[in-house]
């Protein structure tokens, strides 16, 4: 049932390591009730204090490069830490200016957030920013065109496929996410305010590693794009970093192209436009092109 290889150099599948480095700004958007609560916020500050360096050490040990998505405010507040990420040879991508909830913004405000975020990140890192991940919320119609116009070449914000695709009407590459390949749904926890809202038990580590391993075997068999979405404060703990080490060991024993998001997106430019039945195309068609150029 293996689909034909679509990856460079004869690789059977692709894997991308993305890391959302939001410090406290991600959780402030997701659960505004945490504002001003230092104990709770320290759970998320842990990424900045300890998690990032632990992740950098593991990636250096494995000689792997990741794509770090962050709002500009994090780089402004942690310039030295961000410089260490850059020095490690990793990619920096933009999650807006101050990790806004995009559902609450107009298109103009969304564009302004991306523009400010990319400009500041470029200034701090000395690198051109070519990737974008929605901090939170949904795109307004027309954002894909605006991202392209500002030099963004890839997004990792939508779902709906196991392979990269193009945002309709553009050649902006989407590198789709999967809840099963994110650390947050399995492990994020705070007692009060409750995160998750149902105070769900923290998932068993060994079983989570087994799920993510089986997911990889599925993605690899079908020649797909296995995109991990990790958080320094969640996976970058002493107890959990071993899960990632085991997962990366396993990946490196397979014929998988472990690429940065930028590399994968550049490669995907060799591919044809979306099939007309692709979920993104159907959505655009039904919304009257509101997410395309007809709006």
């Amino acid at each position: 049932m293996t689909e034909p290889s679509r990856w460079p150099l004869g690789f059977q599948s692709a894997a991308i390591l993305t890391i959302d480095f939001n410090d406290i700004h991600g959780i402030l958007t997701q659960a505004p009730a945490v504002a001003g609560r230092d104990k709770t916020l320290s759970v998320w500050r842990y990424g900045t204090l300890r998690g990032v360096d632990r992740l950098l050490a593991l990636l250096a040990e494995k000689q792997l490069k990741a794509s770090w998505c962050m709002p500009a405010i994090v780089a402004e507040q942690q310039p030295e830490l961000v410089q260490r990420i850059v020095t490690g040879g990793h990619e920096i991508a933009c999650s807006g200016d101050s990790h806004e909830d995009f559902s609450l913004l107009t298109l103009e405000q969304q564009i302004a957030s991306v523009t400010r975020g990319c400009d500041k990140l470029a200034q701090i890192t000395g690198r051109k920013i070519t990737g974008f991940r929605t901090p939170a919320g949904q795109w307004k119609p027309g954002l894909a065109q605006a991202l392209i116009a500002r030099g963004i070449q890839w997004s990792s914000s939508w779902r709906g496929d196991d392979l990269p695709y193009f945002h309709p009407g553009t050649r902006l590459v989407e590198l789709p996410m999967h809840y099963t390949l994110e650390d947050e749904p399995y492990f994020a926890f705070n007692l009060s305010p409750a995160i998750p809202p149902g105070q769900s038990r923290i998932a068993p580590y060994g079983e989570t590693l087994a799920n993510m391993t089986q997911d990889f075997h599925g993605f690899h068999r079908f020649g797909l794009c296995y995109l991990l979405r990790l958080h320094p404060e969640i996976i970058g703990t002493a107890g959990r970093i071993g899960l990632l080490r085991a997962l990366l060991d396993m990946l490196q024993q397979h014929n998988v192209w472990i690429a940065t998001a930028e590399q994968a997106a550049a490669h995907w430019q060799t591919q044809p436009d979306n099939d007309v039945c692709h979920p993104a195309e159907v959505f655009t068609r039904i919304t009257g092109g509101a997410h395309g150029e007809l709006a």
């Binding site: 749904p185 399995y186 068993p204 989570t208 799920n211 993510m212």
Partner: protein, 281 residues
């Protein structure tokens, strides 16, 4: 209802396994209330089912020579007709599941009739079939629903819970509606589904272990087959057709097909057999 031990499955088999999938795609509450059209992320999550997951699932069923029933909202057939035609071409059954996954509990009898008529029209136009089965979207229905279904040419439903074998629902002026009851234990949403905005599960509970989920399903299967019962599934291609979960299904199907005392059948075959047996009794 038949008494335990009275069931005679075809071909002298001990138990009956009627694999079934709900190919909902992006239909459902968010489409019905309109919020879906401002959440492309959630739309694409759902559309992944018919567009990407279905083909791989059909390949897997073919590899195990397993027949299945697909309950498909007609709106999904309109958007992905070729993908849905492949279900028929591979020998599986397509049955009713609303037009846009309307809860039959929440709509009037007239609206239910309109949904059935629209679905029949779409199935005939795009698939060239007249369906005879129905699974009510999102569970419950009205007291009038069995009559509406029989009037629409439906001979069986797989909507209810609460029993282990097909049973009859009397309908005035018609032969009874056959009910092939399902179980939450065999619904992949109960263990594997996870989304944000809209949140499922509502409290943000964790995705279960694949290995433990498979163990649960295998125990349900073995228990039902050992007791000579009929088991169906409420699996969703967008959930258990994801790459890692497809391997889970592969392991499950290997477990199921290792037994030689099971009648693997489409739901329509189960219903037809049940009606035939009732006549003999």
């Amino acid at each position: 209802m038949q008494q335990p031990g009275a069931v005679r499955w075809p071909q002298g088999k001990r138990g009956c396994m009627a694999l079934a999938f709900d190919l909902d795609g992006p239909t459902g509450d968010a489409m019905l209330n309109g919020s879906l059209w401002s959440t492309p992320e959630y739309f694409t999550f759902g559309a992944y089912g018919p567009y990407r997951a279905l083909g791989r699932l059909l390949d897997l069923l073919r590899a195990f020579h397993l027949p299945a029933t697909f309950f498909v909202p007609a709106w999904v057939v309109e958007q992905w007709p070729q993908q849905c035609q492949a279900i028929i071409e591979q020998g599986h059954e397509v049955a009713y599941h609303g037009y846009r996954h309307e809860s039959f509990w929440a709509i009037s009898p007239d609206e239910q009739r309109a949904v059935m008529a629209k679905s029949a029209e779409v199935f005939l136009q795009h698939l060239g079939i007249t369906a005879c089965g129905f699974r009510t979207p999102s569970g419950d229905w009205h007291a009038e629903t069995p009559q509406i279904l029989r009037d629409a040419g439906v001979i069986y439903s797989s909507s209810m819970r609460g029993d282990d074998r097909p049973y009859s629902i009397p309908v005035a002026g018609h032969t009874p509606l056959v009910e092939i009851p399902g179980k939450w234990e065999m619904d992949d949403y109960a263990s594997l589904a996870y989304t944000r905005q809209p949140d499922f599960p509502k409290g943000g509970d964790r995705i279960a272990s694949y290995a433990h989920t498979r163990d649960n399903w295998q125990r349900e299967f073995d228990g039902a087959m050992d007791e000579g019962l009929c088991l169906t599934t409420l699996f969703h291609p967008k959930i258990s057709g994801q790459p890692g979960r497809l391997l889970l299904l592969e392991q499950l199907f290997a477990h199921m097909t290792a037994r030689d005392d099971v009648w693997f059948a489409r739901c329509d075959a189960v219903a037809q057999w049940y009606l035939q047996e009732q006549q003999h009794d």
